[in-house]
């Protein structure tokens, strides 16, 4: 419990900044929607004129951008990107920082097992992620509600947030697993972020090329896309199962490797 509280406190400031960041992200996104919709131009038509590849890169395939919810669906991709970067960095740093800051000679000579330390730290990361998710949820409900024009959006937001939460947890444990396996703790966060960006790029490449749709299992960014999840689509069971299996596997890797390896002291 003491480790939990201490870690919670040390991540408080960064969590506040991230939460403000996500609020601003939603706000700026929806302000742009206001500009589009009030200009009277049909965005859909504008978008249809764009080359397909550009639409894929910008993330607005198959969404009705005239509706606030459709526009939000496009924005969701960026929210997910932000949330997962937060999660993967948090997962990696929270494990690696004892070695990075050389405090492992303090913490790990205390009468606690390494497993207990990891458990406390992962719970803190999870708490941070839940709060980040709630911050996004609340920001979205408030801001999207302003522009939705009577359209029922809260249900859509809720299901998108559920999808985002699964991805957050998945990337958090990817981060922690990398930090647990890697012997150089300083680079854990950057390696984890690098892997995340590679997966993101892979998801765009898949968007551009229908023939390689089969490899969409390799990148979590393809698991729950707004266009599939929204408007009654829901979360695809197979991808939920895959996510859970991956989360569990990365958890096991985190614990097993961190327990077995020499600490960097």
């Amino acid at each position: 419990m003491n480790i939990f509280l201490k870690e919670l406190k040390s991540h408080r400031k960064s969590l506040i900044f991230w939460s403000i960041g996500v609020f601003l992200m939603v706000a700026s996104g929806m302000t742009k929607y206001e500009a589009y919709s009030s200009s009277g131009q049909s965005i859909n038509k504008l978008m249809a004129d764009m080359p397909k590849s550009l639409r894929a890169v910008l993330g607005f395939n198959d969404l009705d951008l005239t509706k606030a919810s459709g526009y939000y669906g496009m924005l969701f991709l960026y929210l997910v990107l932000m949330a997962t970067i937060h999660a993967v960095m948090l997962g990696a740093t929270i494990i690696a920082k004892e070695e990075r800051d050389k405090t492992s000679e303090f913490l790990f000579v205390k009468p606690v097992s390494r497993s207990k330390v990891i458990t406390a730290k992962l719970l803190v990361a999870l708490t941070n992620i839940v709060i980040f998710n709630l911050a996004t949820f609340v920001s979205s409900i408030i801001l999207l509600g302003k522009y939705s024009d009577g359209e029922a959006v809260n249900g859509e937001i809720a299901i998108l947030m559920a999808a985002m939460f699964i991805l957050q947890v998945l990337f958090m444990v990817i981060g922690s697993a990398i930090a647990a396996v890697k012997k150089k703790p300083k680079t854990a966060a950057s390696v984890a972020t690098g892997i995340l960006l590679l997966m993101y790029m892979l998801s765009i490449i898949i968007d551009l090329n229908e023939h390689i749709k089969g490899i969409r299992y390799l990148t979590p960014f393809k698991y729950f896309e707004a266009k599939n999840v929204m408007y009654g689509g829901g979360l695809e069971v197979s991808f939920v199962v895959i996510s859970l299996i991956l989360i569990l596997s990365f958890l096991v890797i985190t614990y097993v490797f961190y327990k077995k390896r020499d600490l960097n002291v």
């Binding site: 003491n2 000579v109 606690v112």
Partner: protein, 294 residues
């Protein structure tokens, strides 16, 4: 009873040397010195004992329990002062010590104040703002806070001024009188000489000798310096028990351990101009252990 038992402990880091085949015991209630030059493997041994790193082979027990399998349990009664002190920067000294104390199921607030007063440490300062010496004090208080039965100190005096060092040693002697066993690693010999009952000397990852300080200082080592009228054959004194033989012009010097009569007879056979026989100080004995065999 042995508080620490180390059996054939080996730790290799790839090609780099770690420690090999280290074995020694630390008995209940003693202050045990662990001496060696930088990079000899002192910290590696200590970190293995604390299961921060794991041995390649061999094992160690503390309080009769395996130091890896029972690590969390054993550590309830261990206080550790690492050679380099790093703490969570954004904390006040007081908060760090409270955090440290929270791991032990004891009320340490009174002792915290006592120790801080004794070591002249300001509890309300931020750790960031402390000098190296003051950080070391935080480490000392932190290590002794929960009144551990085994105190492990890795080069504890670096950064402390002589006055503080004095107080720190008094503190350790006090803890020792109360029953604490102390493992004290150092490369500074005078410290060891004053405090410790026994020492283990480690060199290049291997234990050279484990002896009582008193034995080390006993008269079985003599320092000879002989001045002759003519240049002496370089190997004239190359006999059993002679160490650090040095022939320079007409002056021959060496350390001798063994039956003094054999040397005296050799000396009697030659024409000498002058002769000095002295007790070597510990420093010289250690340097002899430190130096690589040619």
């Amino acid at each position: 009873m042995n508080v620490i038992e180390i059996k054939n402990l080996t730790k290799t880091y790839g090609k780099a040397r770690g420690i090999s085949d280290v074995s020694f015991n630390v008995e209940q209630g003693e202050i045990f010195g662990f001496i060696g030059p930088n990079g000899a493997g002192k910290s590696t041994t200590i970190r293995t004992l604390l299961s921060l790193i794991y041995p390649t082979s061999g094992s160690a027990t503390i309080f009769g329990k395996d130091c890896i399998q029972f690590a969390p349990e054993i550590k309830k009664e261990i206080g550790y002062l690492p050679s380099e002190i790093f703490y969570y920067d954004n904390m006040k000294v007081k908060d760090l010590l409270k955090y440290s104390a929270s791991f032990y199921k004891k009320d340490c607030s009174k002792r915290m104040k006592e120790l801080a007063k004794m070591m002249d440490l300001d509890l309300n300062k931020k750790i960031d703002d402390l000098s190296l010496g003051n950080k070391k004090k935080v480490g000392i208080v932190q290590g002794l806070l929960h009144e551990p039965k085994l105190i492990i100190l890795d080069e504890p005096t670096s950064g402390l001024d002589p006055l503080m060092q004095q107080k720190f040693f008094e503190l350790l002697e006090e803890e020792n009188k109360k029953g604490a066993t102390i493992l004290f690693s150092s490369h500074i010999l005078s410290e060891v000489q004053r405090l410790c009952n026994r020492v283990a000397i480690i060199k290049e990852g291997k234990i050279v000798t484990v002896e009582k300080i008193s034995t080390l200082q006993e008269n079985n080592y003599k320092k000879f310096k002989i001045e002759t009228n003519s240049t002496l054959d370089k190997d004239y004194f190359q006999i059993d028990g002679v160490n650090k033989l040095d022939v320079h012009n007409n002056v021959t010097s060496f350390l001798f351990k063994g039956n003094i009569n054999t040397v005296m007879k050799k000396i009697a056979d030659i024409e000498i101009a002058n002769l000095w026989i002295e007790e070597p100080d510990l420093e010289e004995i250690f340097i002899h252990y430190y130096e690589k065999e040619v």
